[in-house]
């Protein structure tokens, strides 16, 4: 069975099903990674895995129940017990609130019967020697490099008892490079998302970080307070990803999120920003391609196993500064009366600006330039107040020039509130979210200028 093609496993599992409905998801995953610290590799690895998820649906007098069972390393002997376990789970679960008819009508993927895409350590064939060169340059230049390179390919096959046969290949690569002075009193970071490691050069990033460590040679202590702040694209991505995680329509309609309207209903239609901001997701966005159909291994606030295979359209979540959509499943769309808007695989913010971050720095009289944010957590869901830290370089800009490095800060801010106070959005560019980069990598964001970012206290951490 281990050498059986994934689509054959999906077909066999569907044949074995005796439930009223069945969805089978086969995920074939391969990955390769390198990790380094102090100019030397520390760990590395290659992995290869298969998981099979069987979702059984059982109709009953009080409604339809679902049972979800996932197994890795499925063998021929495991297949029937796995299907039966899903059916038993459905019978034991009781009627599912999100029950809907299984999806029909999505055209089959032409490559459904093809073998899975695969990555290996070969993806680093050019990158690894370049990394070694970057280590040598850093050592010669008095810098220590820390970081991680990861490449993963997941081929997902979805088959249903209603006839869907869908497949999606998702490459996912990240490079994070952190440079420190040998006394670790100065630190700088750069990150890139990539599909194949052909477009990232660690020596170029090292050179970029050498400039930033140079900026940090002049140290300026500033107290807590509200400062004009330039948030780079990675920081904007981290904040808006969190905002979208809090954008489930049902929660908003029930009155328990920042997108709830006092007195009932949701804030869809409210102006969130005076800037002409558009926040969207699009499975076909160039370089950020993501699954064009719903892949739901379990049900939750913004996903339903019954929606597997449903097309994921391009969606504008914020349009021209107004809240346009909240995430819905078919079930929560019906409950709230809002349009169907499945959860997304990429996120793009466009504010109409065309200035680069460097040009925004040049246009700043006095303000802070951040590198990235870290340890972002929700303090208050009512305002979506988030706390977290600045990290790896806060720079003071005066008269259009970086004049030195400032201590780190803890911030307390709400992304929803920030959008209402931002006075400028720069040019949208592809970015790697620093904090959520191990979960969510496909983002394109502009830098934002915020006139009064709340630096709540000073952090001594470097």
């Amino acid at each position: 069975m281990s050498r059986t093609k994934p689509h054959e496993i999906v077909e066999r599992a569907l044949e074995l099903s005796t439930a009223d409905g069945c969805v089978v998801i086969a995920d074939e995953e391969s990955s390769a990674n390198l990790r380094w610290a102090g100019n030397a590799l520390t760990t590395n690895g290659v992995t290869r895995g298969r998981t099979l998820t069987v979702i059984a649906t059982v109709d009953g007098g009080e409604g339809t129940a679902s049972g979800v069972v996932t197994r890795s390393a499925v063998t021929a002997a495991d297949l029937e017990p796995l299907v039966r376990a899903a059916e038993a789970a459905a019978r034991g679960a009781g009627p599912a609130e999100d029950a809907q008819p299984l999806v029909t009508g999505t055209p089959a993927s032409p490559d459904f019967a093809d073998g899975p895409a695969e990555t290996s350590s070969a993806v680093f064939a050019d990158f690894a020697p370049a990394l070694g060169e970057a280590f040598a340059r850093a050592r010669a230049g008095g810098r220590e490099l820390y970081g991680f390179a990861h490449h993963q390919l997941v081929s997902t096959y979805v088959g249903t008892s209603t006839g869907l046969r869908l497949r999606h290949d998702q490459p996912n690569g990240t490079l994070e490079l952190n440079a420190k002075s040998p006394d670790r009193q100065r630190s700088a970071w750069a990150g890139r998302a990539t599909r194949d490691f052909k477009d990232v050069d660690p020596t170029v990033l090292d050179a970029e970080l050498a400039v930033r460590l140079g900026w940090a040679e002049r140290r300026i202590e500033l107290p807590a307070g509200r400062y004009e702040t330039l948030l780079p694209p990675t920081a904007v991505a981290d904040l808006l990803i969190y905002q979208m995680w809090s954008a489930a329509a049902r929660d908003a309609a029930e009155g328990r999120t920042v997108f709830s309207r006092p007195g009932g209903g949701t804030r869809v239609g409210d102006r969130l920003s005076p800037l002409p901001l558009t926040l969207r997701s699009d499975p076909d966005a160039p370089g950020l391609e993501s699954a064009p159909f719903v892949i739901a291994h379990s049900s939750g606030d913004d996903a339903s196993v019954f929606d597997n295979g449903l097309p994921v359209p391009a969606t504008e979540w914020i349009a021209n500064g107004e809240l346009a959509r909240l995430t819905t499943t078919r079930h929560s769309a019906a409950l709230t009366g809002l349009p169907l808007s499945p959860a997304f695989g990429n996120l793009i913010l466009d504010g109409g600006g065309d200035r680069s971050l460097e040009e925004m720095v040049a246009g700043t009289e006095r303000g802070l330039l951040l590198t990235c944010l870290w340890y972002i957590r929700e303090v208050d869901p009512a305002t979506l107040l988030l706390t977290g830290l600045t990290r790896d370089g806060v720079y003071l800009v005066e008269d259009g020039q970086v004049v030195g490095e400032v201590n780190n800060f803890r911030f307390n801010e709400s992304p929803v509130d920030l959008l209402s106070r931002a006075t400028e959005a720069g040019r949208t560019e592809r970015t790697l979210p620093r904090e959520w980069g191990d979960w969510f990598t496909r983002a394109a964001m502009p830098a934002l200028r915020v006139p009064d970012f709340n630096m709540s206290s000073v952090s001594k951490g470097v």
Partner: protein, 507 residues
């Protein structure tokens, strides 16, 4: 109730696969090789307003080979349980070690991986302390219990919504290495949680209150009366939530805090647990989760907190989430001091870090969360010792003129060197002249680690001690999650900075 290792796990070709992998690694010149075969079953059940709203039941089965070859690490994993596949994965691990060596040479480094010695533990088995395997209980019984608990809360006045969840894990590991150690282990853990939500439809205000029962290294019995009184907790929540909805907003400023174990465990986790991981302190986690202010040169000298502060690392505590018999490098579980009389005296170690720093034997803190991941240095159960003759929580509160009693965890964040933290909670009670005087809203406490622990004036007695913890501590790249417990008593802290979160939001 005594258990044995699951027969379905021991029926797998554990020894044969290990022999095939280790023999290939040896033949290819590895100085050290270890083989780990794991089966981890994780399941969740979720209810929303007493109705099923999603669940899953996942089993991860596979094996990993890790080698030291030419002074470099190599790691690979696989899922096909055949001798050929095991040998092939060992070859891949060696190939990865060679790739590492190439990069290290190109960088002009002469760093070599060496491991601290560990006695050989041959053919050992270990099983955690639990009565009833949660996976042996019918799903319908689990759903019915969660539905009943949800219904009790929903029936109360002022409760608009209830979210209920149960997570359960059954973990089996087989480990063997080229030194001759082989271990077979089994662990069970559960995490039930209920959250009640109140919504004021007129004003749009809402708030929630979650159970403070910690996750535990126990079985289904934890939900049916052993280790936690669920009935009493569920009965209290609606009234507490209603009071919280009416509570005044806190006045920002400095207050004395009595911190309940249900909150303090998380402060310990973030500001002591992670800060005393020696791999972090040395820089091996620098690019991701960060380093530590508790640097190695300060061992034996750093004043971590007040002189009544005593913290242990412990992989042996009964029902602890990080409790094991042997770690993922074949090191036997131990208990040791991290902070003694307020001074940093120890770290958490794995074999490589122990050797590198000359600290002798590893204290057994290597862990991988799946067969697809390399073991990294992970947290032991890190716990604050109670004062053997210490006060009750009520008596600690009795010693405060103007302060706040903090119960339950909610929001948490700390900087990348573990200095600056900010925490919120589930319930905040005003203390006036030694007595509780109603709840407060919008409270967060913010401090620097050594200032906070330096302000600890009293540690409660054993009668206040609770083993809290988390299922989902994140670390490393690729990211891994581990579960860990933190025991602590109630404790009194003087003059801590309290923020008003509404004001922080600019309102």
């Amino acid at each position: 109730m005594p258990h044995s290792i699951d027969a379905a796990f021991t029926a797998l070709p554990l020894r044969a696969l290990a022999d095939a992998a280790l023999a290939r690694a040896r033949a290819l010149g590895a100085e050290h090789a270890d083989f780990r075969l794991e089966r981890i079953r994780s399941a969740s059940w979720r209810l929303r307003d007493a109705k099923p709203s999603g669940g899953s039941d996942s089993t991860d089965l596979g094996f990993a080979v890790r080698v030291v070859h030419g002074g470099s690490w190599g790691f690979a994993s696989g899922v096909d349980l055949t001798m050929d596949a095991a040998a092939k994965v060992a070859s891949q691990a060696v190939a990865m070690a060679k790739l590492s060596a190439q990069v290290i040479r190109a960088a002009g480094s002469d760093e070599r991986v060496e491991l601290a010695d560990e006695p050989v533990h041959a053919d050992k088995t270990w099983i955690s302390a639990y009565d009833v395997d949660p996976f042996g209980v019918p799903d319908s019984e689990k759903a019915a219990l969660l539905a009943d608990w949800s219904a009790r809360l929903l029936a109360a006045e002022g409760v608009a919504h209830v979210d209920a969840s149960l997570l359960a894990v059954h973990e089996n590991k087989f480990y063997a290495d080229t030194s001759g150690t082989s271990t077979t282990q089994q662990r069970v853990r559960v995490h039930p949680q209920l959250t009640a939500v109140a919504v004021d439809a007129t004003t749009g205000e809402f708030d929630s209150m979650r159970t403070i029962a910690p996750p535990a290294g126990r079985g289904w019995e934890y939900l049916t009366g052993t280790g936690w009184d669920w009935g009493a907790e569920l009965e209290r929540i609606p009234g507490l939530l209603a009071e919280k909805m009416r509570a005044p907003s806190v006045e920002a400023g400095r207050y004395d805090l009595v911190v309940d174990p249900s909150n303090l465990w998380l402060t310990i986790h973030e500001s002591i647990g992670h800060a005393t991981e020696l791999d972090r302190a040395l820089g091996y986690e620098a690019a991701y989760a960060g380093t530590s202010f508790a640097t190695f040169d300060q061992l034996g000298a750093l004043k971590y907190g007040s002189s009544i502060m005593n913290v242990t690392g412990d992989r042996t505590a009964e029902h602890g989430l990080a409790t094991i018999g042997y770690d993922d490098e074949g090191v036997a579980a131990q208990s040791w001091d991290l902070v003694k009389d307020g001074t940093l005296v120890g770290y958490q170690l794995d074999r490589r870090i122990a050797k590198l720093t000359g600290l002798g034997r590893s204290n057994g803190c290597a862990y991988a969360d799946s067969p697809g991941h390399v073991p990294v240095q992970r947290m032991a159960n890190v716990s604050l010792r109670p004062d053997p003759g210490g006060l009750s929580t009520e008596d600690l509160i009795g010693g405060v003129e103007r302060g706040i009693y903090v119960v339950g965890d909610r929001s948490w964040s700390i900087d990348m060197q573990r200095y600056n933290f900010q925490f919120t909670g589930q319930r905040f009670f005003r203390i006036e002249n030694g007595r509780l005087a109603g709840q407060l809203r919008d409270v967060a406490y913010q401090a620097t680690t050594t200032d906070f622990w330096g302000s600890m004036e009293k540690v409660g007695g054993p009668q206040t001690y609770v083993l809290g913890g988390a299922f989902n501590c994140g670390k490393a790249q690729p990211g891994q999650v581990a579960s860990v417990s933190h025991g602590c008593p109630s404790a009194l802290f003087r003059d801590v900075n309290i923020l008003n979160t509404t004001q922080e939001a600019g309102r």
